[in-house]
Amino acid sequence: MKTYEAMFLLDNREVKKGWEPLKESVDSILTKRGAEIVVAKRWDERKLAYEIKKQRRATYYLSYLKADPSAIDEIRRDLELSVPVLRYLILSCDAIPEDAYEPEREFTMVEDDAEATESSKEGSESEESSKGEEGAEATEGADVTDTIEAVKAAEGEASTEVAAEAAAPEASAGSEPAVASEPADVSAPAEAEKPEENKE
């Protein structure tokens, strides 16, 4: 017997018919093959990053189970044929994390899914706006790493900047080829270079 972590993406249309029966039907796929479910709970209900089988939202169901490795193949086959399971991910795990034992939070189904299927235009608009927000988050994250890099590079940069300033009085164009010859792997710092030179 090995310990596995399994995440299931469940169709919200099936979830609306009733959470408990659906939960049991998924669990039965596992137990039917001799797996022993240690803990299982609803992990989240969220908007998908992309549509799966025309669904914009889905419910995530996380379970930890003990099973024989040979049973996993059979479970996989059954899950492929299962209608409510849009997607699944079964990973072997060494230990079951503590927070897995926390009780399932209460939840109410968001009626957003119905809107998405009824009026696809509105759905796509809201999707775009939220995508923008997500993008903003990501850029914030990128900025953080940038600043970390910048702080670390600051000492090394100081000396090169002195050299650049020394070169500037001789010929302002002289410093530009040096910039161009750099490996342009990141566009943002290269862009930052230009306004600086104008100042000089």
Partner: protein
């Protein structure tokens, strides 16, 4: 964003300290994984993350798993 300060300049090969992940790197930690991606949801290079080869591999796998489960987009 258009105007970046001088300290963002990068010249030649810069030797940086390795950074360890500050949060558990697994596919369920979506917000942290997203912070290790570009605005276009591309995985940041080791140069940008500052991770060791081992940590970067773990990150890569976690992001790919999160993408499979539609927690993160493949492209944006």
């Amino acid at each position: 964003m258009a105007f970046k300060s001088k300290k963002f300049r990068r010249v030649g090969r810069d030797v940086k300290k390795r950074v360890k992940p500050t949060e558990p790197v697994e596919y369920k930690n979506v917000s942290y994984l997203a912070s290790m991606m570009s605005p276009q949801y591309r995985i940041l290079s080791r140069r940008r993350t500052g991770f060791s080869g081992k940590d970067q591999r773990i990150l890569k796998l976690a992001i790919k798993r999160a993408r499979f489960l539609a927690l993160l987009p493949y492209t944006a």
